[in-house]
Every structure is written in structure tokens, then in C-alpha cells.
């Protein structure tokens, strides 16, 4: 049986994860905001009357609204932002034979996957790479670099596009595109907050000396300190955690998309040989920024970890080792698990 039993489960899981991601992100921002409010409230609670008392949770309200805004923006414009950041141009009227072929191959894979045809984009970059983005299959986009079109044969291109269509069909693109927006936002926020805290330490002396004076006298408010420390800790850890999350989420999906893509083409060796060529072209894909790295078929800036296995590589690399992916595809080709065509009856003659 060829149809993956888990297709609906896969889509459902991705929908659920997308919801969790958004909820977690908003909750995190709410914690950052309201946690700060609590800390300030506790710090200023026993300040002498007349001095500032932090009562209205203004920070919390603002950060929660900002988080909701970022999520809405990532949901609505995430795909456009990703495409824009790579400088991709859409192929509507294929002009050259290569473009014609790309559009044809995308249409073929749309037929094979039973999905509507996605929009086709070309990224002006010499390094071969490809990615898919969008919210759902009907509005999805598939982008390949110029280098990819030049490097791969028709069959290999088909394998790569099949891999991307697998991401589209499994709804990986929704989760990945949301992640791209959110990881970027957290990195930005962390930078900004860090600057603010450094700034307040130099400029806003009044508040801290005031509370220190009190704590020296009465033993202070330990709860306020605990909350404050926790709060600062989240700010430091958040960008790292969000990056690791993005990487972990994408790594698992690559194997699955390889397998599903091979199921579309019934030709796992084409994708395997395409991956060989992508691995051999070690030049970084400059058009793809860090925030969108997990969307690509191969790591756009392969580092020391990209060929290694083990805990560290498993945690920090955005893609599974390419050798392992090729080996699995080859196993499918020889083992016959990815060619679930029913065996032909004994040949006549």
C-alpha cells in the first residue's frame, strides 16, 4: 500500500504544532511582559508613598499585543517576507527552456501529489538550493535557485521539486514559515531588550539604588529577586531555544519529505543523486538569510556540524547529515519500499 496512512495525521500534527507554536510564542511574550510587571510591582510595593508604584501591568499588555501582532504578520505575510528576503522572482510566463522545464516539473509534481499547482519562483543565486513556503497548499510557493536549474538534470530537478511538494502537502510549510517569522522576531526582541537593560543599568540608577537601600535595611523582597532573575534568564535563553526549536522541527521533516517525495516520483535515486550534487556544491547560498535556513532542502550555509551525527549535531544542525539522507534514499531504491507499484505479472515472452 502506497498511500501513507499518516497523511491526515501528519497534516493534523502540523496544524496542531502551528497552533502550539503561536500560543507558546504569545505566552512567552506575555510572561516577559507581565513577569516584568510583577517584578517592578514587588520592587516598588513598599516604596514610600509618593514615589513610583508600578500597578498597571502596562509592559505585559504591550508585549502581548506585540506578540499577537507578530504572529498575525507571520501568518499573513510570512511567505512573502521569506521570498522577498531571498530576492526571488516569480515565473509566470516562462521565457527560457529551463524555466519552461521548471514550470512543467512543478506541474507534474502537483499532479503526482494531488495538490493544486504552487507558484514558482527563481532565486538569483549560483548555489543550488530550493525551498517551499506558504500557509496552505492553495497559496504555496516553491522556489529554486538559478544554480539548481543549471546543475541538475530533469529527473533530479523532479526529485527536488517532489521533496518540496511533500513539504507543501504535509503542511510543513505552514509551521516552517511561522517559525521563520517568529525566530526572527525573538532574535530582534532579545537584541532590543539586551540593549534596554544595559541602557537602564547606566542611566536608570534611581530605581535600583532605591530598592537596594531598602533591601539592605529590611532584608528586601526575595520573591521580587526570584522573579527578576527568572525574567532575565528567559530573555537570555529565548533566542537560543527558539533557534534550536526551529532546527529540531525541520530536521525530522527532511527525512519524511525525502520519503514522500520519492513516493511521488517513484524514483528515489534521482533525489539521491540530486542531493549528491547539492552536497558537492559547498558554496553557501548567500541569498538565504539565517532565519529562513530551515526552509531549504539542504543547509544553505553548511558548517562544521553538517556532516556529523551525535548529540551536538542533532541539536544544532538545521538539517540531517546529507550522507544519511542519501543512504536512506538508496535503501528505498534497492529495497523497493518506495516503489510500491504492484509487481507485474510474469512477463510474456
Amino acid at each position: 500500500m502506497s498511500e501513507p496512512v499518516g497523511l491526515f495525521a501528519q497534516q493534523e500534527a502540523n496544524r496542531r504544532r502551528s497552533t502550539w507554536l503561536v500560543a507558546g510564542f504569545i505566552l512567552f511574550f506575555a510572561w516577559v511582559g507581565f513577569g516584568g510587571d510583577v517584578a517592578f510591582y514587588l520592587l516598588t510595593a513598599d516604596a514610600p508613598p509618593g514615589s513610583y508604584h508600578h500597578v498597571v501591568p502596562a509592559i505585559g499588555i504591550v508585549t502581548t499585543l506585540v506578540a499577537a501582532g507578530i504572529c498575525w504578520y507571520s501568518w499573513r505575510f510570512g511567505a512573502q517576507r521569506v521570498l522577498w528576503s531571498t530576492g526571488a522572482r516569480e515565473v509566470t510566463e516562462p521565457a527560457t527552456p529551463e524555466e519552461r522545464q521548471l514550470v512543467n516539473v512543478v506541474e507534474e509534481m502537483a499532479v503526482a501529489s494531488g495538490q493544486p499547482k504552487p507558484r514558482v519562483w527563481i532565486v538569483p543565486d549560483d548555489d543550488p538550493n530550493a525551498f517551499a513556503t506558504g500557509r496552505e497548499a492553495a497559496t504555496a510557493s516553491v522556489a529554486v535557485t538559478e544554480g539548481l536549474l543549471r546543475t541538475l538534470s530533469r529527473d533530479e530537478l523532479q526529485g527536488v521539486v517532489a521533496h518540496e511538494m511533500a513539504h507543501v502537502r504535509n503542511l510543513d510549510i505552514r509551521l516552517m514559515t511561522l517559525l521563520a517569522g517568529i525566530v526572527g522576531a525573538i532574535a530582534l526582541m532579545s537584541d532590543g531588550m539586551g540593549r534596554m537593560i544595559r541602557g537602564s543599568r547606566m542611566g536608570g540608577r534611581g530605581l535600583s539604588t532605591g530598592s537596594r537601600g531598602r533591601s539592605g535595611g529590611k532584608g528586601g523582597n526575595p520573591l521580587a529577586l526570584v522573579v527578576l532573575v527568572l525574567w532575565l534568564l528567559t530573555l537570555v535563553v529565548a533566542p537560543i531555544v527558539s533557534r534550536i526549536l526551529a532546527m529540531a522541527v525541520s530536521r525530522k521533516r527532511e527525512y519524511l519529505a525525502d520519503a514522500t517525495g520519492a513516493q511521488f516520483t517513484r524514483n528515489p535515486m534521482a533525489l539521491a543523486s540530486a542531493l549528491e550534487k547539492l552536497a558537492a556544491a559547498a558554496a553557501p547560498t548567500r541569498a538565504v538569510t539565517r532565519g529562513a535556513a530551515h526552509l531549504c532542502i539542504v543547509d544553505p550555509s553548511p558548517g562544521l556540524l553538517s556532516d556529523k551525527q551525535g548529540f551536538l549535531a542533532d541539536t544544532l544542525a538545521s538539517h540531517p547529515p546529507i550522507r544519511e539522507r542519501i543512504a536512506r534514499l538508496q535503501a528505498m531504491a534497492y529495497g523497493g519500499t518506495a516503489t510500491p507499484v504492484e509487481p507485474a505479472e510474469p512477463l510474456p515472452g
Binding site: M1, E3, N104, V111, A344
Partner: protein, 189 residues
């Protein structure tokens, strides 16, 4: 207490039946949709062929029989109805086209003109799409047939008016024949 348990059991069974029924109906629609996909691609192929024949006619005048075979196979395929008959006619058309493409290899001038190369890419792609649409149809149809024939989904197959659908079988022996791939690396058997 017993009544309560009975109620829970009945509700659970009804819920399961609704789920199984919906799954069958969804599969049925997917099969119909997959068949429509094949139809779209077949129509496209039928539309492309006269173009191709007209373009190559001048240069390949003395291959008249091949060209006529393609046109005849095309017209037969256009008028075919039903899974079996369509599959057979389209298979024959694929073979006729294959012969035509093999012959064009002998005319380098023909390949050099962009028009023919472009048409050939279009037809190759359409052939691929037909293949992939057929693959999707067969996969979906198999899933549908299996679902309505296996326990426990078969219990609601009657309510969902599910009936087994035909698969698109490969008709021609030459199409079915698996190409002889030699993996022994320099040790031909």
C-alpha cells in the same frame, strides 16, 4: 448504571460509524477527483498532438505511416470511454508517440528548431503528468477499495454506497515490461 454504560457504548458506536462513513465518502470524492485529473492531462495531450504532427510533417514527409498512426491513435483515444477502453487507447497512443519520438532522433535539423524541442518538452511533461495522475488515481482507488472491503469499515460501506472502482491497468506488454537494468557492474549475465 447499566443504562448509562449502554448509552456510552451506543454513542461511541455511532460516532465511529459517522467517522468511518465520512472517511469512505472522502475517499470516494478523492477517487473521482483523481480520475478528473487524468482526464485533464489526456485532453491536453490530445490537443498537443496535431500541433506536433503539423510541425514535423514537412521534414518527415516520408515517415507518413508513423504520423498517420499517431493521428489515428489520437482520434481513437479521444472517443474512448470507460476506464478499460480509455486505458487501452491511451496506451496505444503512447506507443505511437514513442515511435515518432524515436524517429525524430534521426532528423538533427528537426531537433535544432526550437519549436520541435519545445513541443517535445511539452509532450514529455504531459506524458509524465498522465503517468503521475494515473499513479495517484490507482493509489487512491486502491485505498478506497481496501477501505470498503476490510473490517470494520466494510460495515458502513453499504450505507456510504461504496462500490469497488476499476484500476487503470497497464495494457501493453511493452509498457508493462520492466526495463532490464543491469546492476552487476561489469558482469553481464
Amino acid at each position: 448504571m447499566a443504562a448509562l454504560i449502554l448509552l456510552v457504548v451506543v454513542v461511541a458506536i455511532v460516532l465511529w460509524m459517522v467517522g468511518a462513513y465520512n472517511r469512505l465518502i472522502s475517499l470516494k470524492n478523492q477517487v473521482a477527483n483523481a480520475w478528473k485529473q487524468i482526464d485533464v492531462q489526456l485532453k491536453r495531450r490530445h490537443d498537443l498532438i496535431p500541433n506536433l504532427v503539423n510541425t514535423v510533417k514537412g521534414a518527415m514527409n516520408f515517415e507518413r505511416t508513423t504520423l498517420e498512426a499517431v493521428i489515428a491513435a489520437r482520434n481513437k483515444a479521444v472517443n474512448a470511454t470507460g476506464v478499460q477502453q480509455t486505458a487501452k487507447a491511451e496506451g496505444e497512443l503512447s506507443q505511437a508517440l514513442g515511435r515518432l519520438f524515436a524517429l525524430t532522433e534521426a532528423y538533427p535539423d528537426l531537433k535544432a528548431t526550437g519549436n520541435v524541442a519545445q513541443l517535445q518538452e511539452e509532450l514529455t511533461s504531459t506524458e509524465n503528468k498522465i503517468g503521475f495522475a494515473r499513479q495517484l488515481y490507482n493509489d487512491t482507488a486502491t485505498q478506497y477499495n481496501t477501505a470498503q472491503a476490510t473490517f470494520p469499515t466494510m460495515l458502513v460501506a453499504g450505507i456510504a454506497k461504496a462500490a469497488p472502482v476499476e484500476l487503470w491497468e497497464i495494457q501493453e506488454a511493452s509498457e508493462r515490461a520492466v526495463p532490464n537494468v543491469d546492476l552487476s557492474l561489469g558482469n553481464p549475465s
